[in-house]
Symmetry: D2
Subunit: 362 residues, 4 copies
């Protein structure tokens, strides 16, 4: 059952709305005896937090995580871990003007149709605010992966609007990524992206972009065939971000224009290690990790909230002109980097535990 | 739990291997009192069946579906429905030469690493043969959707290798699609694709391509926020196909290069109906259907099995030259059309049933 | 997946430990548009609360419920509902002496074996304290059942130690039950039970007992055949209480000594209504409700915590004498009444929604 | 999700109806590399099979199991295992007279109410016939437990009608149990039970009884706290049998009449092993196995089908006299022994795999 839960055995349940007192997660299926480092969770939350720079929304939230269960003396005890983050700066009055209006490309209309109750001010449950809980859960998942495996999860901005960074010869580090205010490791591209975001902000407009995901040191064998494929689970998790409109693994869409002899990944043995000479498969074959880096690219549409005037209808079907004057990011992609990492870490941790459960008899 | 199961409340469990006696599915969570038309199931199976034309593998399977439970006098009774298709033409001897070899871009290596047992001849569980069961389940799901809703699920080939059909002014019909041996409704493109496939076949090579998915007449409200988004579930389901390497919804990757003012979908009222003037969202907003057509494009890599010589290693890590002489499609995309429809119909049927939670009290 | 979650579509996830800052629940799968009455939740919590009378533990907890998500303006919005209750009176120092000791018939030893970490002071996760969250969830489930159906859930004390009340000609009301400090509606039995509890308390000992469950006005059709039987789900839920050691439905164990002709429930029609002349089946046939009252009896062992001296071993396997000087109920059965109701209401609400999802085509 | 599925990670999906071509199961979540012994599966099926002796129904079914997936060369490959048993002797004409009648204490009425379609002849899905699939799945689970653990699962008849065997000083063996045609290891009781069953059969009547379950050599740590308790899962699984009306663990209902000082299980160390001096807990504390034998007693009501005349109503609500002339067991309890073992083995295998989450990092 999905609904508000991600993961089959390492299960992250998300709760909370943007304009309620808090948002949070409860994680069930946590192995006992693992170390928990709250400061690392906070670090990832800070990377997602609004108000980091003048490129992001001015809504200011300290986003302090509080762990209220499942951890004793800095260690997991096998019980569910509840983590929550208070909403301190809700300002829902800003949204009063919007209560009756279906904002273009927002979830106002679909929520109203689904739940039969009038749209919540400020997006409520559909707000990106709920991702703070995901990031906390993902940070924990990442810590656990580091204790149980060598898996590294890393994401960075690959393009914003029409600016695409040149392909990198080697993966950057998280520190290198964070040196860029837009989280693009290539300095020249980063500068251009920053400029482009300011250009859009001045016009009351917004921009899309893409994020590159790279999961390294993943042992072969994670993921399940048929309906439990690792790429399928990553695709599911990453489409949980409202702005995501596409995902591709390894060679991706480009492979559809190739021949098999061009893009088959031939196996080679180096030392004792079997790998592939190319990685068009993106580290996953038949839904199962093959030990090569797992690579994916995720496409984000431009932020729906723009202050530029738009035409739309209200709940009575009357045409209205709308100019959204809230506190919104002209481009969400840089702040989405830790969220992509978080969702990926949750999926990997879940796949790792599932594989442990069904490990073959020796 | 995924593993071999798709769906939360309309749950399709896939079983069987390519070289065993049969493959099948069991569907749990089927409402009682629905009509079952076996001939329509057979029709979809025939569209997936190998040996349809000289463009596909010469493995010949009649693929007769047999329903062994859950249906009495042509109607569902609320019990699980088991459907199976016999494997009549297994010829596993063809695969003897491959038993020790990790075929490039196949699941041989990852299965061996995961399950600790030597690779199965002919792919076994990872073979596309298992999709016959999915198609049977999806055909049933489609019948049920037609009885309970107005939803229509349709897929067709959009591109093969570098040949992309021009954009269509209006969706084709399934009959129009099937007039083309490659299931591309544009005649000129279809001819070129056919030619291109023969070109690849002659060279012992294979081709990738893309499929367009269009789900129309879907009522607003299907799908759930956060981790149960309709697009996330479709992405999960469609990545279950081994050759799928990417998916995009609505405007897709292209949206990442746009501004919000260019691609926000403004709401308009026409008669009593609220819709959007454009459909960059691809019919889904905040993970929930908005009543507009749900559109997606799915990327397929070229078939991994090619007869052209390739380098790879065997289980002992020794380098070997390989030329796969099985019976394989030079391009799987045309036969994947009914599979894309099947997986989509299953997801939609599941989302439709889940949405019943929120029906008003009677 | 069970672990910490109850329910298939109306899913209650329990979190928190007795000696942490709070315990709570998050409920996913809640229909939108239902009314939420916090005072009724508080009422059921008060019935479970320690310190209600001098017959219960002196641990004093106000047990104020706080709803932090999923409810806006007194109505559900279809999002997960988080409810929590603070732990204000943890006094974990009381448990310092116990940290190394495996208390007889407690979960100290099994938790240590399972999680590999030393036992938590005061029981932690295995404490009956976590049932406060269940009661809050169950109270909500009860409210929802009242809005969506006519189902009534009622439980009362049937026996304590060797005192069993005479069989009742008609179900009591909740008010009648609460007039008794031990929640036994028969006044004479109630007095004797009260006396017996004081007798045990004076001796530093504890008592078992049984609770009668009666679910009335349940429409026929709830529950699923095979592995989703309504009685199986009730049995599962009610065995979640640590002290429960048995459950029987309808005629229960006594039926094992009867002949079919004695205890088959013959169908009769009264007016337009089909029912049975007897109810040995306890309102459930083939796992599905038949419209008659659903009746069950649940057996509770005596509280494990007693101040009377006991022999046991510590974590090093050394024999120690133990006298548990915490604040414990000499008999938990009266306080278990609202918990039995809560768990039953959750199961019924879940069965109702599942039935709604799979309702037959008309 | 329950419905037709048992188990969280070792998942048994049951399908098929009594009067269809076959009944079966598909097991998902099976570790690779385990040995499969078909003859042992057949042995357990033979113990459940109708027509074993003149005490059981004369419906004769060879009940040959066929494995159609997931096993290659006698070993599991990690894929779902489909096992099926053909229905060869359906004789549904016997049931024609019953098609319109609601048989007392059968599922005819509840199925009709639930599914809105007229009752199936012969019970269909609610027939005990479906338990053949469970026994096959349970036999496999037992084999796997033997390969992975030392756990032994054993059940025997404890009472039939008013005849209860004296308590046994030590558990019998399966061979000893099967020497008795009623599966009661005490010879004198067995003879009396046999006689009593003949007495009931002559009268066209039926009898209830109880089964004792004993699971030995279970390591401590299986089961989960809160809503995943091992006893709760056993209770759920065993209530899946239509005739089961009650279950108790360890001291059971009798504990409700005791004091804590009488029935607390004190821990003792013997050699290096910690155990308890008594076992009123029935091997489970706080929902988790403690290493002592897991003991339970299960109550069966008398078979509903009797040839003695009964009053009931038909689908039109008209009163009719009914005498069921099918082929029915006067007492199902002896044939239920392997089913109780099967369901228990499935639960234990599932709990064993789930517990692997908590294994220390390697």
């Amino acid at each position: 059952m999905s609904l508000s839960q991600l993961g089959d055995v390492f299960r992250v349940l998300s709760y909370g709305e943007s304009h309620g007192p808090e948002i949070g997660v409860v994680i069930d299926g946590v192995p006992a005896g693992l170390n928990v480092d709250e400061s690392q969770i906070q670090q990832q939350l800070n990377r997602r937090r609004p108000g980091q720079s003048d490129l992001t929304t001015s809504r200011s939230e300290p986003d302090r995580v509080q762990i209220t269960s499942g951890v004793v003396d800095g260690k997991t005890i096998g019980s569910p871990i509840c983590m929550r983050v208070a909403n301190t700066n809700t300002r829902s009055k800003d949204y009063d003007q919007l209560k009756e209006v279906y904002r273009p490309s927002h979830a106002d209309y679909t929520y109203h149709m689904k739940y039969g109750v009038p749209t919540l001010a400020g997006g409520g449950r559909s707000s990106a605010r709920v991702t703070a809980g995901w990031v906390a859960a993902g940070a924990l998942a990442e810590q656990f992966l580091h204790q149980l495996t060598s898996i590294q999860v890393l994401a960075w901005v690959d393009s914003i609007h029409t600016i695409k960074q040149p392909s990198l010869p080697v993966d950057p580090t998280r520190a290198q990524i964070d040196q860029s205010p837009v989280r693009c490791p290539d300095t020249k591209s980063s500068n251009q992206m920053e400029e482009r975001i300011r250009w859009a902000a001045e016009r009351g407009d917004s921009l899309g972009g893409t994020i590159q995901l790279s999961i390294t040191n993943c042992p072969p064998g994670l993921g399940d065939p048929v309906f439990g494929k690792l790429n399928a689970k990553l695709a599911h998790a990453l489409h949980s971000l409202n702005a995501v409109k596409g995902i591709e693994f390894g060679g991706g869409f480009d492979l559809s224009t190739k021949t098999g002899s061009e893009v088959n990944d031939e196996f080679v043995q180096t030392g004792n290690q079997i790998g592939t000479s190319t990685n068009y498969s993106g580290g996953i074959q038949g839904g199962i990790s093959n030990g090569m880096p797992i690579t994916a690219r995720i496409a984000f549409k431009p932020t729906s909230s723009i202050s530029k005037a738009q035409q739309t209808v209200n709940q009575s079907g009357e045409q209205v002109e709308l100019s959204v004057n809230g506190r919104h990011d002209p481009c969400v992609v840089p702040r989405a980097v830790p969220i992509v990492e978080a969702l990926s870490a949750i999926v990997l941790m879940d796949a790792y535990l599932l594989h442990r459960i069904h490990q073959p008899a020796s």
